[in-house]
C-alpha cells in the first residue's frame, strides 16, 4: 500500500503565483475583454488647454455621424450627475465629472460621445469643436500660493486647498492648539541646524492596464452592474449607488483582472460615475477604455511635495528637533484621498528616530495640473526622503558615517510600542537589527574602501544609505472614511474543497496564492483544493480594498479568523463522528484525525459531506453547513521598516548615473510567501529607483504635460537596474495574529533617498550638498563642470537647488 502523501506546510514557502500562468499567457479577463449585447462605447472630448472659460461647444458634426448614439456636454451631464464626493474632511470646490464652464487642467473632460464602436466614438469626439477664453495658467505651487497669476477656484483664495495644518510637538491632533515652546527650545539648543529645500517631484503612476469601465443598467431589474479596473470594488459600489440615488443592494461592482493600480485606482473617477449614469439614462450598456495618452493626463498623478526641512542637532550627531514645512501641489481638484496623502508625510516625520521635538506644517495648493492622489507609498516615501536626506546631510556635515548618525538617533528596540511626536504609535521595531543586517550583507566597510579607491582614480563613485519606516496595514476604522476593517468568508464545500472570499481585492499582489497557502495549512488540505475569490461585490459580501499595504495584514487576518471559525465547527462534526474530543483533533494531509490514535481518522472530504447531510445533527450544533464570515478590525496600523544601501557611479564627462549596487533589508514581520514578497519589493524598488533617477512629470508654463508619453516619460526597465540583493529581518507585529506587516510599498521608501545620497556622495568633491530628483544627467554634468543650473522649459532645476545650507 502506498504511503499516504504528506502535504507540505505552505506558509513561509516560495510558492509560485497561481495567477501567473493565465496572466502571462494572455488569458486573463480584463474590463476591455467584456462584451455585452448592445454595448455602446464612450469617448471623452478633453480640454487641450490648462485653464480657460468654455465659450461654446459645437457638437453638431459629432451628432450627425453615423453610429453616434448620444453626445453630452459637461452642462448636460451636470443635469443628472452631481458634483463628485471626496473622502477627506477638508473643504473642496465643486468638481464636476465633466467641466461645465471652466477647464482647470489640460485633459479635463468637457464632452462625451456614446457610439456603436470605439473608433466612431473617438472620431466623433474629435469632431466636437470647443472654443475657450483662455485664463492665466499657474503650474508652480509656490507662485500659486500668492494668488497670482490666477485663482483657480473662486472660493479658495491664494489657491489654498488646505491652508495650513500644523502638527507635532505641542499640537493637538485637530491643530487647534499649537505650543511651540519645545520646538523653539530644541532649535535654541542646537549646535548646528541643517536646512534644505527639497522637491519630491511629480510622477505618473502608469499602470500597465489603463483605466476602464463597463456599466450595465438593466431597467427590468432596476439593477446596475459596473465592471471597473479598480483597487476597491466595494467602495466603488457605495459611491456609484450614492451618486445614482440607488441602494447598495441594486448595484454590483466587479473588478476583474486589474493590471496594476499603484494607488491611482483607489480614486473613484468621473468616468466611472458618468458611465453608470449614462447607462442608466440611455438604458444601454456602455464601455469606456482609457488610452495611454489619456492615462498620462486623466489618471491621478503622485507625489509633488516641496519640503523645507530643518534639522537641529548637537555636534555628536544627536538630533534635537525637526521642522518640516510642506507644500503639496495637488493639481486642479481635490480627488477622493488627495488631501489626505500629504498628511501621511507629516505623520511619518519622525522616521526611525527618537526626535524629541517636531513641528510640521502642510499647505496644499491648487495648480493647473492633473490632480494628485495616492501613488505607491503615498506620502510616506516623501517623509522618508525628506528626513533621510537631512540625516545624510547631517552625517556629511559632521563627517560621521551615515550609519552611525542614524544609529545614534534610533528609537531603541525596547521602547516599542513607541508613540512619536507626530502621534503615530509604532507597533514594533528593531531598527539597529535591520541596519546591522544591511551593513553586513552589503559589506559596508569594504564598499567604502571600494568607493575611496575608485575616487582616488578619479571615478565619481558614491555610497548612500537610508533607513525607512512605513505606516502599513491600514488601518483602524477611525483612520479611513470607509472604515478600515477587512472582510472574508470561508466555505468548506460539500466535497471538501474550500472557497475563500476576500474584500482585499488584489491588482497584482498575488493574494490568490498567499491566501490559499494560509487556508490550506489551516485546514491541512492541498493548495489546489482552495480557491480564493475576490473583486465582485455579488460574490464577496463586504470589503474595503487593497491599498496602504493592507491586504495581508488586514485581509489575510480576516481570512484567518473566518478559517478559525469554520475549522471549529468542522471539528464539532468530526468529533461526533470519531467520538473524540474536539481538542484532540488534528487537521493534516487531507484528514481529520485524533491525536495519539493514528487509526482513528476521517477523510476531510467525508467530514465536509457529513456537515451538509448531518443525520443526526451532532449535539451542540444548531445548524448544518461549513461557512463563516469574519471582519477584522485592526487595533493599530503596522510599521514595517528596513535599510537600503546604494552604490552609484556618475560618468564624469556626461553626468550619466549608473546604479552599481542596491542592497535592501526589509522587515515586514512574518512572511507568508517570500517569493511574492521579493516580487513586491522588486516592483517597489523599480519605482523608487525610477523616481530617483529617470521619472519626472514635467509641465511647461502653459500647463501642458511635456512628458505626456513614454517617448519623454521614462519608465524604468530591467536594464536600468543592477541585480537587487534582498535580505530580511523578522520583527512580528502584535497588531494581528499573523504577525505580518505589509510590504507592497516598502521598496519605494528606502531606495530613493539612498540613491540620491549616493549621488551627493559621488559629487561631494564639487561642494554639492543636495541634488533634487530626478538625477538628470545634465543636472549632474552641470555640477561636475561648474555650470550654473539652468531653467529648462517647464519645471526643471530651480535656482537654489543643490545649494543646501548649514546655519
Amino acid at each position: 500500500m502506498p504511503a499516504t502523501p504528506v502535504l507540505p506546510k505552505l506558509v513561509g514557502q516560495r510558492v509560485k503565483r497561481r495567477e501567473d500562468p493565465r496572466l502571462i499567457q494572455g488569458r486573463g479577463t480584463y474590463v476591455d475583454d467584456l462584451k455585452i449585447v448592445g454595448m455602446q462605447h464612450m469617448a471623452f472630448k478633453r480640454s487641450d488647454i490648462a485653464h480657460g472659460r468654455i465659450q461654446s461647444i459645437d457638437v453638431s458634426a459629432a451628432q450627425a455621424m453615423e453610429g453616434v448614439e448620444a453626445v453630452f456636454t459637461g452642462k448636460q451631464i451636470a443635469e443628472f450627475v452631481a458634483p463628485m464626493p471626496i473622502g477627506t474632511p477638508f473643504p473642496s470646490p465643486d468638481h464636476r465629472a465633466l467641466a461645465t464652464d471652466v477647464v482647470r487642467y489640460a485633459g479635463e473632460p468637457v464632452a462625451l460621445v456614446v457610439a456603436s464602436d470605439r473608433y466612431i466614438a473617438r472620431d466623433a469626439a474629435d469632431a466636437i469643436v470647443v472654443s475657450y477664453d483662455p485664463l492665466p495658467v499657474v503650474v508652480d505651487p509656490e507662485l500659486a500660493m500668492t494668488g497670482k497669476p490666477t485663482v483657480i477656484h473662486e472660493k479658495f483664495a491664494n489657491n489654498l486647498a488646505v491652508p495650513l495644518v500644523p502638527s507635532g510637538t505641542g499640537c493637538t491632533p485637530d491643530g487647534s492648539v499649537r505650543d511651540d515652546t519645545a520646538v523653539d527650545r530644541a532649535f535654541a539648543q542646537a549646535e548646528l541646524v541643517i536646512t534644505q529645500r527639497m522637491v519630491n517631484q511629480r510622477l505618473v503612476p502608469n499602470a500597465m492596464e489603463p483605466r476602464g469601465v463597463v456599466a450595465h443598467y438593466e431597467q427590468g431589474k432596476d439593477y446596475l452592474t459596473i465592471w471597473s479596473s479598480t483597487q476597491n470594488p466595494h467602495i466603488l459600489r457605495s459611491m456609484i449607488a450614492g451618486m445614482l440615488g440607488m441602494g447598495e443592494h441594486q448595484v454590483r461592482a466587479v473588478a476583474p483582472e486589474v493590471g496594476g493600480g499603484f494607488g491611482a485606482k483607489i480614486n473613484i473617477y468621473g468616468e466611472e460615475y458618468v458611465a453608470a449614469a449614462v447607462s442608466k439614462r440611455l438604458g444601454m450598456p456602455v464601455k469606456w477604455i482609457e488610452d495611454r495618452a489619456e492615462a498620462f493626463v486623466a489618471t491621478t498623478h503622485g507625489r509633488d511635495i516641496i519640503g523645507y526641512v530643518e534639522l537641529a542637532a548637537k555636534r555628536d550627531g544627536t538630533v534635537l528637533g525637526l521642522k518640516m514645512r510642506l507644500i503639496a501641489d495637488i493639481g486642479a481638484y481635490n480627488m477622493l484621498l488627495t488631501a489626505a496623502i500629504p498628511t501621511l508625510t507629516m505623520l511619518m516625520a519622525s522616521a526611525t528616530y527618537d526626535i524629541p521635538a517636531i513641528r510640521t506644517t502642510l499647505t496644499e495648493v491648487f495648480t493647473n495640473k492633473t490632480p494628485t492622489d495616492a501613488y505607491r507609498g503615498a506620502g510616506r516615501p516623501e517623509a522618508t526622503y525628506f528626513v533621510e536626506r537631512a540625516m545624510d546631510m547631517l552625517a556629511r556635515e559632521l563627517n560621521m558615517d551615515p550609519a552611525d548618525v542614524r544609529r545614534k538617533n534610533f528609537i531603541k528596540a525596547d521602547k516599542f510600542p513607541f508613540q512619536t511626536q507626530m502621534g503615530a504609535v509604532y507597533d514594533s521595531g528593531d531598527y539597529a537589527k535591520a541596519l546591522d543586517a544591511a551593513l553586513l550583507h552589503s559589506k559596508w566597510d569594504e564598499l567604502k574602501k571600494e568607493r575611496d579607491a575608485a575616487q582616488a582614480q578619479g571615478r565619481l563613485v558614491g555610497l548612500g544609505l537610508s533607513m525607512y519606516v512605513e505606516v502599513c496595514g491600514i488601518g483602524p476604522s477611525a483612520t479611513l472614511p470607509t472604515g478600515g476593517w477587512e472582510h472574508a468568508n470561508i466555505t468548506v464545500e460539500r466535497d471538501g474543497r474550500i472557497t475563500a472570499t476576500t474584500g482585499a481585492s488584489p491588482h497584482g499582489q498575488g493574494n490568490e496564492t498567499t491566501f490559499a497557502q494560509m487556508v490550506a495549512d489551516q485546514f491541512g488540505v492541498a493548495f489546489d483544493d482552495v480557491t480564493v475569490l475576490h473583486g465582485d461585490t455579488a460574490v464577496v459580501k463586504q470589503g474595503i480594498g487593497t491599498f496602504g499595504s493592507r491586504s495581508q495584514a488586514v485581509g489575510g487576518t480576516a481570512l484567518h479568523m473566518a478559517s478559525t471559525k469554520v475549522k471549529k465547527k468542522m471539528a464539532a462534526f468530526a468529533a461526533s463522528l470519531l467520538e473524540a474530543s474536539e481538542d484532540d483533533l488534528v487537521f493534516e494531509n487531507g484528514t481529520i484525525g485524533v491525536k495519539g490514535s493514528p487509526a482513528a481518522s476521517l477523510k476531510f472530504q467525508a467530514v465536509a459531506a457529513f456537515a451538509y447531510i448531518p443525520v443526526p445533527l451532532p449535539r451542540g450544533l444548531d445548524e448544518p453547513g461549513l461557512s463563516a464570515d469574519a471582519y477584522f478590525e485592526p487595533p493599530n496600523n503596522t510599521y514595517p521598516f528596513g535599510c537600503h544601501i546604494s552604490m552609484l557611479e556618475i560618468d564624469r564627462e556626461t553626468g550619466e548615473p549608473t546604479l552599481l549596487k542596491l542592497v535592501a533589508v526589509d522587515d515586514a514581520g512574518h512572511l507568508i510567501n517570500p517569493l511574492i514578497v521579493e516580487g513586491q519589493i522588486h516592483g517597489g524598488l523599480a519605482q523608487g529607483i525610477g523616481q530617483a533617477m529617470i521619472e519626472e512629470a514635467v509641465f511647461n508654463e502653459d500647463g501642458q504635460l511635456v512628458t505626456g508619453s513614454f517617448m519623454d516619460y521614462a519608465l524604468p526597465r530591467a536594464t536600468d537596474f543592477p541585480h537587487f540583493e534582498l535580505h530580511s529581518t523578522v520583527t512580528p507585529t502584535p497588531v494581528n495574529p499573523l504577525g505580518a506587516k505589509g510590504v507592497g510599498e516598502a521598496g519605494t521608501l528606502g531606495s530613493t533617498p539612498s540613491i540620491v545620497s549616493a549621488a551627493v556622495d559621488a559629487l561631494s568633491g564639487f561642494g554639492v550638498k543636495h541634488i533634487d530628483m530626478m538625477l538628470r544627467p545634465e543636472k549632474l554634468w552641470r555640477i561636475i563642470h561648474g555650470q550654473a543650473p539652468r531653467q529648462s522649459s517647464g519645471q526643471g532645476p530651480r535656482p537654489g537647488s543643490g545649494q543646501g545650507g548649514v546655519a
Partner: protein, 281 residues
Amino acid sequence: MIPTAFDYQRATSIDDALAKLQAASGGKLIAGGHSLVPLMKLRLSEPAVLIDVARIPGLSGIKEKDGKIEIGAATTHREVAASALLKQVCPVIADTAIEIGDPQVRNRGTLGGSLAHADPAADYPAVMLAVDAEIHIKGPQGWRKVKANDFFQGLFTVDLAPNEIIAGVQFTPIKSAAYAKLHQRASHFAIVGVAAAIDVKGGVFQSARIGLTGAGTHAVRLTAVEQALAGKPATKATIASASEAAAVDEVNSDIHASDDYRRAMIKVFTRRALEGALARA
C-alpha cells in the same frame, strides 16, 4: 490604438508597392510601423491607405556582393544587430542596431523605415553617413541612388518623393568604425549619437567620415573633425584635439538636454566614437 479609419493593402513586390502607392490617394508605406503607428495613434498622421511592404520577397536581408554590403530596406534592427556577416566585416552597423530602442522596437522596426522617417534622433542616419552608404530608391521613373550625405536634408525631410520606395542600402564595409551614443532614457533615441569610420595607414589617419545624429534637425557629417584628423598620427591625443572641432550651428534643446549640454556631448561622443574606431583599426 484608436487611429482614424484606413485601408490596408499588402504589397507583393516593389513594383506592386509602387503601383498601389500610385493608385491610392493619401497612401503611406508601412513596414515595422514603429515610427508611423505612434503618429497614427496620436492622430498626427491620418493615412487613408497603408501599404505594407514588410513581406515583399527580397526586400529584407543582408548580403555581401562584389566587396560591398547590401541591406534590404525591410530588414529589422534585430536582424542587423544579430548579423554574423556584419559583425565580422562592418561591426559598427550591428553595434548601432543593438542600441536602437528596445527589443520590441528592434524586432519590428526596419532600416528603410528609419531612414525614410528620418527622426532627428534616429541612430541609423549617423552610421549611414559614416560608411558613406548609397541609398537605393525606386519610383515611377525607375531606379536611382542617393548618397546618405545628400539624402538627409532637414527635419523629417529626406530626398524621397511620396511615390518612391527605399529598396535598400549599399556600402563598402569598414571594420575600423564605431558608434557612441548618449541615450535619452525614456525613448532610448539618441540625445547625441556619433558614428565614426577611419582609415589608418602607417600609424596615420588617412581619412575619416563622422556622422552625427540627435543634435540638430537631421544627421550631418562633422567635416571639421574629419579634416582635423587627416594626415595626423593615429593617436588618442590627435583624437582628443580633433574632437574639439566637433560642432554644429543649430543645436536642439529640450527637457532632456539643453543646447549647451548637447554641444558639450557632441565633443565627448565624437571622441568616444573615434577611440572606438581606432581600437578596431
